[in-house]
Symmetry: C2
Subunit: 351 residues, 2 copies
Amino acid sequence: MKKTKHLSAKHQNPGEAGVLRRIDEVAARMQTRGSGVRLGIGDDAALFKSTNGFDQILTCDWFLEGTHFLRDKHPADAVGWKCLARAVSDVAAMGGLPRCFLLSLALPASHAGLWLDEFLQGLHRAAKRFGCVLAGGDTTRRRDILINVTVVGEVRTGEAVLRSGARPGDVLFVSGRLGEAELGLRLIRKSKRLASSRDPIFKKHLYPEPRLALGRWLAEKRLASAMMDLSDGLSTDLPRLCAASSVGARLKASKIPAVGVPKGRRSGDTAALDLALHGGDDYELLFTVPRKKLKRIPRSQNGTPITAIGEITKERTLLLVDKAGRESPLPDLGWDPFRKPDKRQELTLRV
Amino acid sequence: MKKTKHLSAKHQNPGEAGVLRRIDEVAARMQTRGSGVRLGIGDDAALFKSTNGFDQILTCDWFLEGTHFLRDKHPADAVGWKCLARAVSDVAAMGGLPRCFLLSLALPASHAGLWLDEFLQGLHRAAKRFGCVLAGGDTTRRRDILINVTVVGEVRTGEAVLRSGARPGDVLFVSGRLGEAELGLRLIRKSKRLASSRDPIFKKHLYPEPRLALGRWLAEKRLASAMMDLSDGLSTDLPRLCAASSVGARLKASKIPAVGVPKGRRSGDTAALDLALHGGDDYELLFTVPRKKLKRIPRSQNGTPITAIGEITKERTLLLVDKAGRESPLPDLGWDPFRKPDKRQELTLRV
């Protein structure tokens, strides 16, 4: 990230130096000791010292106004939290831990004050929570708020859990409950106000928790044969895991841990199973376990339920099995930003 | 980068899978052996194995339509080249070499065909030229074309050249000629057509060359006490180097290697010195050398001129000295995206 201090005073607010100074102040409050970051914000680039015996995990994620959040509905603090949580979730899905991150931020000048401060508060809380530090980035001015986050994580060499390791007979698991984030999003879209950060029904949508401890544990104990995080919805992400592993899957509808929709919040488009199958943004882990290791998988970890929802099959089809045992093809209605507007329009934000 | 292959065929063009497949095809043509990339596109994240005894250099850069390039004036191939060149230049400025990069791309569906192919061709040529491979990224659909590139480079531990090492008495150098990119940009802005990739006057603006060999050599030989790349213009970037080093500088106007403006292209706003002082996007190296090492700096390296343009001073002021020896404060008219529209409006692209 470019240097924040100038010799002349003319670059004070609302100039780039002002934006960078605020970001720099937040970075300075992060504990870099042990993070591997040798040189942070203020030079042409950051310097990172990797850990002997570890591979580095590299991932980046868009978080764009109008596509991934709405300026007038999503609190700035939640935008700050979630832009980092999304990218950290990819590190969790490899079985690693995050070390540091780069923040690319484009803002209108009108948002370089209070909005930026609240955004940075959320980002800072998330960084502390996930154990990674802000090492650098890039800022510019723009009509829309655009965010891109790159996270560098680490995993002991040989321990990374890929999408490609699922084998026929493996049991398919998910962490947490599915569809909660989607329910929160739908309620926020219907509302005319900024969503309350304190309403528990919005928590999963606004402040997702990457499953770092679970991912790490599964990798370390070599229990998962394949793993990914659920960002685009089970019906979109499961086909990706299956394709990478050259397998298919049978999902048991009744086993899927779906969001509990409170009575007062029910409406035509909030069928729990649909939310759980097609809703995005849950950032839960989807993973497969060989049968001989099944006994070692607990029902929950630190309060997060772990649920067997189906099995991996040799036939490369995706089937949903209902309570009566009837099989039907799993409809793929998950998130694809390039797909033409269709039913999905109702399910997620679009430009 | 998310998986490119789906079990079902419904995700073909113009879906995200189609975009990812094109990107994946380009990535597959890149030679990953020796790059450190252990796992590329297709999983939740990429895996990179760092080199023993080296630090990792982390940098990211925005490249946004309307801010950094114009869809109807800049060839897609040049957009692909330059988005990578900009970020690689930061690695050169640390004295390192690039290893791999992540591409975040947001596109309208209308640009997911031919435009994307040409963009990827330029990106591929740049990646080959700079010796780094595409390891992953993120794609989404968007009205505007948005690009963010993260580069991971490496430098032997202890060899990185920072901005903060300049000392009073050190001599200030630049590589290449300054203002060429700015001149190209101005001519492109005046034209109504797509710029020709073959016109040499546009070359520096469309296809900048990060000074990797020079940066690496200066770091390895420990000749530079401080270094940065010139992205926002000498008058904006020199203050940053000076601030980081707690020093000032005296620039000799007559020594600055300014762009040669061809006769037929001259107009009121193309004074060569102004272009050289305030024009951005040159991606030349600005570095300082202690006097006792001056003899080891050649006049050029592989055809790139290396020019002494001034000296570092204890007084924390920035002075421009004209031919007659008169000193004046260096006006800072370089690129600051958050500054209110002013004279700079004429100098670079703005939203």
